[in-house]
């Protein structure tokens, strides 16, 4: 008796988030689940949970082809990636395929839901309920997470549309643990702050150099940068001198926060360069786009010295030193010694407060 899982990512989420922020609906170039939040994407976290629950095979159904969508999933064994035009049709095909190959039950999750529930308990609940589909609910309502009986789902012609429209019932599975619906950029931000606050079961990756401050591999934090816990600095990122990262902020991998800038209650998504002396507050920054969560607006920055995406240059390794093409005085600061962050126990140089590593727990 096998157990499978189908993860659907794509159009459903895109449609839901459109119109949330006036100005530009395509502010995030891929589904929320594909963005790294504290080092790993939600999609990766979802798949890891299935793998840990000993699910035999996981299928990721992507309804629109996007660059680099497959990359995060290649690391997993027994994870198949498929691009489908119609998610509903893709789910039906997959259930049929599972059924033929001896997999009796399958989880189905839309990639916008992150739920830290005991998946095996959910599965046993479904098996005892003896129904074609069991939907998960939490205190806010229904979730796009089901366990399906592969055989019954086909005979009863249950499709994705039908499943999504169904309301909760007595035979729904109630989730008490942490849930994030990831339907809005605010949810992405909330997810980061919940992870940092320890409201989720998963912990941020990297070294916890001081209580509540996680620094991932290869990140460089200048000794005159101040990081106030809880905060996360992602893999290969650079935090330059006189910057402040505070109030549950996360700087994801391969980012650069430049001289004198303040990151407050914000998420800097991967491959984003933030220029000098800026205030990024209550926002999600992605490349040259800034979602101001407090003002409910998206702004696109055309000046690359203010904000830009470093996706291509970072990969090529040509522009590793940030600011080479930007304002000339940045070069001066780049020559300043930036150090790999030392554990909190290492003594700062005795040059007064200015020279101390101002990490604060």
């Amino acid at each position: 008796m096998g157990l499978g899982a189908i993860v659907v990512m794509g159009e459903a989420q895109d449609g839901e988030r459109a119109g949330v922020f006036p100005g530009d609906a395509s502010v995030l170039s891929q589904p929320f689940a594909c963005f790294d939040v504290l080092g790993r994407s939600t999609a990766q976290r979802i798949i890891e949970r299935f793998v840990r629950a000993d699910v035999d095979v996981v299928t990721v159904l992507q309804t629109a082809v996007r660059q680099d969508m497959k990359a995060p999933f290649t690391a997993f064994e027994n994870v198949e990636f498929r691009v489908m035009r119609d998610a509903g049709e893709g789910v039906l095909q997959k259930l049929r395929h599972y059924s033929r190959n001896g997999i009796e039950h399958s989880f189905l999750i839309l990639g916008n839901v992150y739920a830290e529930t005991d998946l095996l308990d959910f599965y046993y609940f479904h098996r005892e309920a003896r129904q074609a589909a069991t939907r998960a609910v939490d205190r806010e309502g229904v979730l796009d997470l089901w366990v399906l009986d592969c055989e019954k789902a086909q005979t009863q012609a249950i499709d994705l549309q039908h499943l999504r429209e169904a309301k909760s019932s007595d035979s729904s599975y109630f989730i008490r643990e942490y849930v994030n619906r990831l339907s809005d950029p605010r949810d992405l931000r909330r997810f980061a702050s919940d992870l940092l606050r320890g409201r989720c079961a998963t912990r941020p990756p990297g070294r916890e150099v001081k209580r509540g401050i996680w620094i991932d591999d290869g990140a460089e934090v200048h000794r005159r940068a101040r990081i106030v816990a809880p905060a996360y600095i992602g893999r290969g990122s650079k935090v330059m001198e006189d910057t402040l990262v505070t109030r549950l902020s996360n700087v994801e991998k391969d980012c650069c926060v430049n001289y004198g800038t303040v990151i407050e209650d914000s998420s800097i998504l991967q491959n984003t360069d933030i220029g000098i002396c800026l205030d990024v507050c209550h926002a999600v920054a992605n490349g040259n786009k800034l979602l101001k969560l407090d003002r409910n607006v998206v702004i696109e920055i055309t000046d690359p010295s203010v904000m830009r995406s470093n996706g291509d240059t970072w990969k090529q390794g040509k522009d590793r030193k940030w600011g080479r093409n930007l304002l000339p005085f940045r070069r001066k600061h780049e020559r300043q010694p930036t150090t790999d962050l030392q554990p909190a126990t290492s003594a700062p140089k005795q040059r007064g407060l200015q020279a101390a590593n101002l990490l604060q727990g």
Binding site: G23, D279, R295, V298
Partner: protein, 134 residues
Amino acid sequence: MSSKSPVIVMEAPEKLNHSEAQAFLAELQPLLQSDRPRVVLDCSQVQHMDSAGIEMLLSCMAEAMKRDGDIKLASLSPASAAILELMRVDRLFEVFDTAEEATRSFQAVASPDVSQSLPWYSAGYGLADLKSAS
């Protein structure tokens, strides 16, 4: 003796980029040359603002301050307000929802005839007060 200049409301252009900002500044310059210029920039039409536009606002403000005047902003769109906040410029300006409110704010302040010849601490406190406080 104070010479009160009228409050001038100027509508900022749709784009506050390098070229437009230069043209707008040229238009604004004569107004800023007057004694105590009091200018309200109505930003309701502004759709696009970049660092050149912000630089223009700052140079206008500096010019107005040199002559003991002020520049106030009105009807900022959320996007423009967000850019000003990002660039740390928002706190340098008084911002109002409408141009009328901004104009009224100029008129509401009965300009105390404190000229720049007086030292700053004499506006509210005597030097003795400061000494005693310390």
